[in-house]
Amino acid sequence: MSEANLALAHQFDDPEQQLDASTTGMWVFLATEVMFFGGMFLGYTAYRLAYPEAFADASNLLDVWLGSINTAVLICSSFTMALAVHSAAEGRRQKIILFLILTMILGAIFLGIKFYEYYHKYEEHLIPGENFTYAGPSPRQAEIFLSFYFAMTGMHAFHMIIGFGLQTYLVIEAWRDRFSAAYHTPVELIGLYWHFVDIVWIFLFPLLYLVGRHL
């Protein structure tokens, strides 16, 4: 219990209150993130209902295998993150670092695949803007679809990069032996953040990659 008391901020009465408040704070923050991404999901929904064929068409421009692999990669990174939190709760320093680094490797693989996909789109002139050329039907609505693709996956990737930075911080702190069974709040909070980023992708994948695949 002593490590927890050392980390006790002065506005709190005891470590339980601090952990409780911190975790609640992270959940409140995640609620704001739901609304933040939610705005883009609203836009996506409105246009998909308005232009179903164009969206189905444009969705087929994305590589479903890369998308599926990325989904699996992110799910695995969520698993390793959960194991990192679990190790922190057990006070096992080596395992915290191991699972955090695994999480970061998986995250890096995800981002690597993502940027490869982006580069491909760039080569095919499918980035919305002046150079956008699409030979299929409804090119303009296809451009809207791709605008959402880049905006939503781009914002998601940005959140992953932030997560990467946070995990780096955790690795450093774990290396310095700052965590124990009594005090590992930052690991838990950043774990919550990472799982949320995973959930966003869980919805992005089918909505962006799996429209009209049967056609």
């Binding site: 599926s68 699996a72 799910i75 679990h86 709760a89 994948f205 089918p206 799996l210």
Partner: protein
Amino acid sequence: MNSERIVSVRTYAVVWVSLLILTVTTTGIAFIDLGGWNGFVAVTIGIVKALLVILYFMHIRFSQRLTWVFAGAGFFWLAILLGLTMSDTLTRAPVPPPTVATQVGVQPR
């Protein structure tokens, strides 16, 4: 209090495998024509996956009720945003194409 109960590695592993299976499922079903229901099925599977992550990876299953409220509030408010906006976009009367009579400067026959 949160996470006083440590979730077992086995539980995490079961959730992990379930998520991977569901991913394969949703990708596979996408290639089958469900006659307009593809979108609904995809989102439903997504919801199941999200729930698995929230309940187990994020420990909601073992958290206090207040945390459930905060976790749910975001999604509930998102439903308001989507629902009420759709009440407009789905009920707009289609704008009729311009006829001769509505073009400026043209005499109707």
